[in-house]
């Protein structure tokens, strides 16, 4: 275990991984500070670049970028009241108010140092969880791993979006699309319409790019605006913000725990984590009326929780293949591209890579905070770039990214089809994460299903953990309806 911890650090500090991490961090700065391009989209846009990389290099690059995305997103949330990332929205309430009161620097310092603390605690939780999970995983067979994937889909389908039924239909569509091509083990062709191109199935990259990047591209082109509508003013007081985090260290610790718990529980995501932490900060404050009027705790709490959530979301992703949020669902695609299977392997033979991920997030956050301290004013200038100027480079990335994996224009067509589907789903309020999760996990689920049936026939469903997870999946699927029924009953009673 200790050797893997050191080996993981060595892999990240070796060339070219460290260089690629810097490239990822630089990309994260730019993308994070620009509104509209969310973390999942940014990761999707970068997937085509990892084909020629080894796993430690690929994850140094991707996680280096992901680590700083939301940290820089705090800048626009505080300075302009526009969240650079959806997970930094809660910071606006008090952070932007502080900025308007001339305390922009202090709010930024508190948010950035808070995000740093959350990320480090989240990464450490990933490292410390591994020795606990490892013995359990060794005793699991294919039925348990099958059910982990099913539970993951159940969580993401029922908890993202407004309707669980829509989530499950989207997941079903993703699973169905994952079956296109040759069936595993038998090479029987399924749903290929006589097209040679479809024999190898639908690739993850064009699907992810279409589903996530095209709707955001359309949104950017439709609105055409830059976000910097106000003057930034002075940015002094960063150090005061750092001191605020230390002064509120117990709040920081509790919000770190909120971040870790929401990260490990699939489906809640950073959006939930930040607001839960904000609510906790209000509830635990001596004078709750200060919140919304520029309370620094209202900046610290969501910043820490969403950073903790981002890093700890890797725990279920790595250990069970269950993504904790939409970005880690896209990251699962990177696992597949790199030939890595989440689960047992990631905690045994590929353990150094897993530790390398945790190291990357710690190192990337240290670098990010140093750079922000040095370049805060210059970074703010990026927000003045007009939306129209960004459209051509994004079209370029989307087209080339789809084409470059297999060097075929058919993949570009697939990207466009998924793009149209993505726009339609966004317009109708359908969640996209379950679809991509179904597409990513479909092959794994079918493999484990075939193995389970071949080895245990239907008795695999009677194994204790499997039965418990079947019940859990059913409970998760039904919980929104139970909650709605309770709300109706409560309303009728009053």
């Amino acid at each position: 275990m200790f050797e893997a911890l050191i080996a993981g650090l060595g892999q990240i500090l070796a060339w070219p991984a460290i260089g690629l991490m810097f490239v990822g961090i630089a990309a994260g700065f730019v993308v994070g500070i620009l509104p509209g391009i969310g973390g999942a989209t940014a990761l999707a846009l970068m997937l085509p670049f990892i084909f020629h990389m080894k796993p430690p290099e690929a994850f140094a690059f991707l996680l280096g970028m992901a680590s700083v995305l939301a940290m820089t997103g705090e800048i626009t949330s505080i300075l302009f009241g526009v969240p650079g990332e959806p997970v930094t929205a809660a910071t606006i309430v008090d952070g932007h108010t502080m900025a308007k009161q001339g305390e922009a620097g202090r709010a930024l310092g508190a948010a950035l140092f808070g995000a740093f603390v959350g990320a480090v605690v989240g990464s450490l939780s990933l490292m410390l969880t591994i020795p606990i999970i490892q013995p359990f995983l060794r005793s699991f067979g294919s039925p348990e791993f099958l059910m982990f994937a099913v539970v993951g889909i159940a969580f993401v389908s029922s908890l993202t979006g407004s309707s669980p039924v829509k989530g499950f239909i989207a997941a079903g569509l993703g699973l169905l699309l994952s079956m296109i091509g040759q069936s595993p083990g038998t090479a029987t062709l399924r749903y290929v319409f006589g097209q040679l191109y479809l024999w190898e199935g639908i690739r993850i990259v064009p699907a992810v790019l279409g589903l996530f990047a095209i709707p955001e591209l359309v949104d950017l082109a439709v609105h055409r605006t830059s976000i910097a509508r106000r003057d930034v003013g002075a940015l002094g007081g960063l150090r005061q913000g750092f001191a605020d985090v230390l002064q509120h260290r117990w709040l920081a610790l509790r919000c770190s725990v909120i971040g870790i718990v929401t990260g490990v529980a699939p489906g809640i995501g950073g959006n939930g984590a930040q607001w839960i932490a904000y609510g906790h900060a209000v509830q635990s404050a001596d004078d709750p009326t200060r919140f919304g009027r520029g309370a620094v705790e209202g900046v610290i709490a969501p910043a820490i929780a969403s950073a903790g959530e981002r890093t700890s979301a890797l725990i279920p992703t790595v250990a069970f293949g269950i993504p904790g949020n939409v970005s880690t669902a896209v990251l699962l695609g990177a696992f597949i591209i790199q030939g890595l299977v989440p689960g047992k392997d990631m905690l045994t033979k590929d353990l150094a890579i897993t530790f390398g991920m945790a190291w990357t997030m710690i190192i990337a956050n240290v670098i990010a905070i140093a750079v922000i301290l040095l370049l805060a004013k210059q970074l703010v200038a990026i927000t003045r770039i007009r939306g129209t100027l960004l459209v051509p480079p994004i079209i370029l990335l989307v087209f080339l990214g789809s084409y470059a994996e297999r060097n075929t224009m058919f993949d570009v067509v697939v990207m466009l089809v998924f793009g149209a589907l993505g726009v339609l789903m966004v317009e109708l309020g359908w969640p996209r994460a379950p679809l991509i999760l179904g597409l990513v996990l479909g092959g794994v689920i079918e493999n484990y299903l075939n193995l389970s049936v071949a080895r245990y026939e239907l008795e695999w469903t009677l194994r204790p953990l499997v039965a418990a997870m079947i019940l859990l999946s059913a409970g998760v699927a039904l919980s929104p309806y139970v909650q709605a029924a309770r709300r109706r009953a409560r309303r009728a009673a009053t």
């Binding site: 020629h52 309707s163 039924v165 829509k166 499950f168 239909i169 079903g172 569509l173 699973l175 169905l176 079956m179 069936s183 083990g185 038998t186 029987t188 399924r190 749903y191 095209i214 591209l217 359309v218 082109a221 439709v222 609105h223 055409r224 605006t225 007009r386 129209t388 100027l389 459209v391 051509p392 480079p393 079209i395 370029l396 087209f399 080339l400 084409y403 470059a404 060097n407 224009m409 570009v412 067509v413 466009l416 793009g419 726009v423 339609l424 966004v426 317009e427 109708l428 309020g429 689920i445 079918e446 299903l449 075939n450 049936v453 071949a454």
Partner: protein, 152 residues
Amino acid sequence: MRRGVEVAFVAFLAVVFAWAAWEARDWADNVRTFPLAVAIPGLALALVQVVSSARGRAPEAPVDETLAPDERLRRSAQIAGWIGGMFVAVLLLGFLVAVPLGAFAYLRAARERWLSSVAIAVLCWAFVYGIFDRVLHVPLPPGELLKALGVS
């Protein structure tokens, strides 16, 4: 209108699930187990949703306080046209010509300044040529029109 679109969308998905189950009926057991396990519940859920969408409230439009619905639709159609046009341009002219040309045309149509339009078009071309062609050695398609004309 939005309700009609959603009903049509879910009905289409129901047809897809039904067709997937029907196609799987003659396959060997180990080939059809998974498709049937997904398609049959998928069909049931889609039918439930068709009824629910037809009877329930229309899905809410994404909140947009800055643009009138007609203008939003017009701009959406415009960018869809640009994306489609870019695809045709890449097919006919190849990435190396279509990318800077498309970028320049889009920026000028959006009334960006000549200088920034040219600069971004050149940067886009440099990115394609430098990273994808020279560094990653991705074989970029020459473009059907240019091939037919014997230019590349």
